[in-house]
């Protein structure tokens, strides 16, 4: 579905990705974990066209990705960006409209109804300026917005950020459901344990390099991963 080969990305002097290769199979969940600054967000941004790789290539369904972010979205890849990034002055409803930018008005209406069903809280707040939502509500909105465009691939950058525990569970259930419906998911998460438990395959990034990859369930058992990313012991 999505193939990344030898990707290098740098910001001026800093090289954020150093030859990352990755294979994302259709209708699966690929999880990426790694420390702060490992380059996870950079990788997602490279896929969405927000940063231009220095070298390497990304192919989507066998063809190279288009050059501009908006074309990439049209091709079917959307991102739930890190730190929510809702449009603060637009209302919740309008934020969702933006999410469905590539769709027809009828489709937008239908999908909005579905998102509202998923997050009833958003429906209550439909007219409120997104900037005044609580942190968690914004996160729900960011996820709902990405679901609007019926993508083929969704890139989640820390979707559980700022969500209450119950909602976190719901979100992971949702991600599993999304996959069930045939959508491919790339998941960047700090809540590695939860992420690995829903994922099919996983990659561990360190300093811009893939240091470990494999089936998610195997990584979950891997003592090194356990020590470095799962907190050493089960969370209290």
């Amino acid at each position: 579905m999505l193939d990344i080969k030898e990707l290098y990305v740098s910001y001026g002097r800093i090289t954020a990705l150093q030859g990352v290769s990755m294979h994302v199979p259709r209708s699966s969940i690929v999880c990426i974990i790694g420390n702060n600054g490992a380059g996870k967000s950079t990788l997602l941004n490279a896929i969405s066209g927000m940063v231009k790789p220095k070298s390497g290539e990304i192919t989507f369904e066998g063809r190279p990705l288009p050059a501009h972010p908006h074309q990439i979205v049209k091709a079917g890849i959307v991102q739930v960006p890190e730190g929510r990034q809702v449009f603060p002055i637009l209302s919740v409803d309008e934020n969702l409209t933006m999410g469905g930018y590539v769709l027809s008005y009828r489709e937008i209406r239908e999908r909005k109804a579905r998102v509202y069903e998923l997050f009833p809280r958003l429906k209550e707040r439909a007219g409120q300026a997104a900037g005044t939502l609580s942190g968690g509500e914004q996160q729900m909105l960011a996820i709902g917005r990405a679901l609007m465009s019926s993508p083929k691939v969704i890139l989640f950058d820390e979707p559980s950020l700022g969500l209450a525990p119950m909602v976190v569970s719901q979100v992971f259930e949702l991600i599993a459901k999304i996959k069930e419906s045939g959508v491919t998911v790339v998941l960047v998460e700090q809540n590695a344990r939860k992420a690995l438990s829903v994922a099919d395959t996983a990659y561990v990034l360190e300093n811009g390099k893939v240091v470990l990859e494999g089936r998610a369930s195997e990584l979950l058992e891997n003592p090194m991963v356990e020590a470095a990313y799962l907190g050493g012991r089960k969370s209290a």
Binding site: Y11, I14, I33, G34, N35, N36, G37, A38, S41, E82, G83, R84, R121, T132, L133, S134, G135, G136, E137, Q138, Q139, M140, E158, L161, G162, L163, A164, P165, M166, V167, V168, S169, Q190, A192, R193, A228, Y229, L230, G231, G232, K234, S235, A236
Partner: protein, 256 residues
């Protein structure tokens, strides 16, 4: 009493975001503030730091009423805070970000500064020293010349904490400081926070959704739902409180 909040209320149009909320915080204590998304936690924090004016109730900090005071006045009384959505000054480097918070403590004024002289440069040195000390505490000193926008999300959160420490606060309000940190980093953060309380003699009010932090770190926890306090107590009490489980933690947390 160090901090005493009584019957705090805040409305946004028809929505009552915080409803008759009361809480008390004692010195050198880490207090947790939890609750579902949109429960009103950040709103409480915003009122504590003066960004929102309460619609009712009172906030008494070190025996002084602070509701209605302007944010900078409250900050100068010794309340520092971080923001849930990171709000660093992106065109100032990390060191300068922290220096901002300490600036008001220096004894100079604009006219003196304009003329210059050793007194001013001494003040500036003092600010720098203080800021570096704060960065050191959060292990950020080597990043002091970086611009925050270029840092990874998790690091930015730590810069926020360092900046909040910059003004030598007595009370530190942290809004989801652990968001975006991985479990190991969370452990480091917890250690750091404990150390801050010990070293600096401060109190912390902490909003967090990562239960491992709240339950391990806090001595007392308040739980908000729809703006109302639904429970308060020790971590143990809270974890077992059925109302909290129903509204917030979810069944699954029982085995956590």
């Amino acid at each position: 009493m160090f901090l005493k909040v009584k019957n705090l209320t805040k409305r946004f149009g028809g929505l009552v975001a915080v409803d008759n909320f009361s809480m008390e915080v004692t010195r050198r204590q880490i207090t947790g503030l939890i609750g579902p998304n949109g429960a009103g936690k950040t709103t409480v924090l915003n009122m504590l730091s003066g960004l929102y004016r309460p619609d009712g109730g009172s906030i008494v900090f070190e025996d002084r009423e602070i509701s209605g005071k302007r944010p900078f006045e409250i900050a100068r009384m010794g309340v520092g805070r971080t923001f849930q959505n990171i709000r660093l000054f992106n065109e100032l480097n990390v060191l300068e970000n922290v220096k901002i918070a300490h600036g008001w403590r220096s004894r100079d004024n604009l006219l003196l500064t304009m003329i210059g002289g050793t007194r001013v440069s001494r003040a500036e040195k003092e600010i720098t020293r203080k800021a570096e000390e704060c960065l050191e505490r959060l292990d950020l000193l080597r990043l002091k010349n970086e611009y925050p926008g270029n840092l990874p999300y998790g690091t930015q959160r730590r810069v926020e904490i360092a900046r909040a420490l910059g003004s030598d606060p007595k009370l530190l309000l942290l809004d989801e400081p652990a968001a975006g940190l991985n479990p190991n980093e969370v452990h480091e953060l917890m250690a750091t926070l404990r150390k801050l309380v010990e070293d600096l003699d401060i109190s912390i009010v902490l909003i967090e959704h990562r239960m491992e932090i709240v339950l391990n770190l806090c001595e007392w926890i308040f739980v908000l739902d729809f703006g109302k306090k639904i429970a308060e107590g020790t971590p143990k009490q809270i974890r077992e409180n059925p109302a909290v489980i129903a509204a917030y933690l979810g069944e699954e947390s029982r085995d956590a």
